[in-house]
Amino acid sequence: MSSTDLPTTPGKPRSPLRGRAVAVGVVAMVFGVAACSSSKHATTASSASESTAPSASASSSAPAAVASSASAPAPSSAAPAASSAAAGTGSGPTKLIFWEFDNGPDTPSMTSIINNFNKSQSKYQVVDVNINYQTLAQKILVTMAAGGSDGPGMFTTSTDTISQYVANGSVANLDDFYSTPASYPDAAAILPAAVAASHIKGHAYAIPENFFDEGLCYNKDLFAKAGIATPPATWADFATDANKLTIIKNGRPSQYAIALGDQNDTSQFWQPLLWNGGGGVVSDDGKTSLLGDPKTISALQFWVNGVKNLHWSPIGDQGPAAQALFDTGRAAMFPCGPWVVGTAQAGHINLGVAPMPAGPAGNFPWAGSIVFAVPSTDTPEQKAAAEAFGDFWNNKASQFIFSNGNGYPTTRTDMTPADFPNNPWVGSFSVFASTSKYYLAGVPAGTQVNNDVFVPALDKALAGQGTVQDLFTSASKAAQTLLDKNP
């Protein structure tokens, strides 16, 4: 029997109910629009007074209208207590819902400082909501757009992404935090580099939570096994040591010299390699692409050759995978910050920390900083609460708790590693500060330049899909276009 022998049904009969279905659909849409109109109005209200370009006055001018508008569902991770946040209205303290992504050894210090802040005064109450970084990044703007009082009144982010929030007007201007010593006395004690990274075009949009210089973590046992006495001080030393530390078995590396992640979340590890070679991704003023610069090309040729051809490092690893190789003794070195100390010690790694090896241009470590940011939709009370907490966070007592707990360098100019006799790691990631640089701080198109241009070009180079010269000359043009479009 062939298919044509089988009885077939005619086309679907036209339903007389089709017209009614359309009518019901229209009614349902009307309900939908009505249901969503309150949040739309909130968004409009919050944005009405904003200009299209980021400016000092733009981002801090709108909040009151939003706070009184319709409430929106809280993120699933928000604490129940947060749902009743008064946001500065009614009696009792102003509740400040605080979204942060600290983890590991940071958490006890964070909790302790928040508790101390809440006990130290009766005007504000910080409600801590700990969520994963990516979840925070995904939800923060949506929550702001939804309006209402259930969203965060303060959140943490990194210095390389804050400019993006400034560009779209989603974070508040915090100039008053740095210019009102009577209200915020500890602001003046914060490290100038961290303060500078919190400023965009001369205006403050963030308060530093932490500060560190990237170092080179190394496994002392693997170095000793390879007959290497000291960590590499220069690129030439590194090449010699890396060739000894890279072990190939059955055609595959069984041990890597270094775990250099090369994805979006670890691309900053490559910056000191470019800076030390005299190049970079963008110029220090953030206006010019340096990807096609001969010094950048030369530095990339050195490192891409080492990774791709000499197998110094695995390719394609994100941060956790790269760190896992170091924590399990399968990579001898890892560009790192204070967060590595705990996991490396848990893996019984005999840990040493040194500066990244100097290149032809010197040594310019990557400086990292997590910052507190305040949504532009905050009420004045919420913003004041956030600034009060930012000041409290950076006072001496809080900084002692934070740094003593997790080994981060202090954010203050008047505290030194000697103030932390019980935690020797505090000094390990602050000794290079005089020459360290932030990556993409204050560059509105920074995220796009990194994720859409630099990382794909690097991946292509590592996969042998072109020469470094060709790939990065082309990438430089793309980066410059983005920089010009987002001045």
Partner: protein, 315 residues
Amino acid sequence: MSTTEIARRRPSFLPGHSNQGKKGRTPRGQSRAAWLFLSPSLLILGVFVVYPIGRALYLSFTRYSLVKPPHWIGLQNYSTLLKDPAARNAIKNTVLYGAVTTIGGVVLALLIAVLLNQRFPFRGIARTAVFVPFIVSLSVVSIAWSYLLDPDIGLLTYWGSKVGISAGQGFLVNPNLAMVSVIVVGIWKYLGFYVVMYLAALQSIPRDLYEAAAVDGAGPVRRFFTVTWPLLSNQTMLVAIIATITNLQVFDQIFVLTQGGPFFRTETLVVMMYRVGFQNLQFGYAAALSWVLVVMLMIVSAAQVAYFRRRTVQY
């Protein structure tokens, strides 16, 4: 089931239903009651499906970063899209992934369903094993596969190296193997569901058709192509449409396994939408990309329905 049987079981509000014996219930009254029962679902669909689709269409004509109100820019997002090599690459990857995964998944599902429709020891266990991946979270599945394919600790990488298959720095990093890897995971994940759908259809085919074909001298292969395959047309249409829609919207496993890399080799439209919207904060452009996907889905689904409608069978 015969046509008259179907007619007999027709819901009362559909045309052709007999209202005899239902005193006091006019067709109009019954119809009203039916719409009343349907209204909660229609309301939910309206709020959570129809409205967002319409809103996305509006946003696709704006510049929108969530915090500021949308700024109308007409067709600018679409003209940017036409010139954007990243969008062309994403469309190409989406079509490639959708076509290979759908065709591969449907064909494999049919073959496995035919095999699992035979009697053999431990058939129940085999059926369960095929179905289990479908009930596991796609994110969990993807994380598990990322470990299996890891160049340093991956079991599949290790086994591959033993038989001379080397992925160099890793399946998910190798530009020639990354798409193949995510396609394999995509097929594997949904295979069980399609197999179950085919199994249900296979078991509804009357045995007497096979017996008649056998009496006429048809062997197993001829019986498959003259009885099984034609009588599975309805199910094939359903499976193909579901698979196409699912595969063209792929996001989870690509996001977990490759994040669209290496250098956008596995970036599909939805992954690009995420990047453009949530990383670059260009929600208007992301909405325009979403409408490209909507149009693609409409065209493909309409083509599939038109193709299979001519082959619909009833027995």
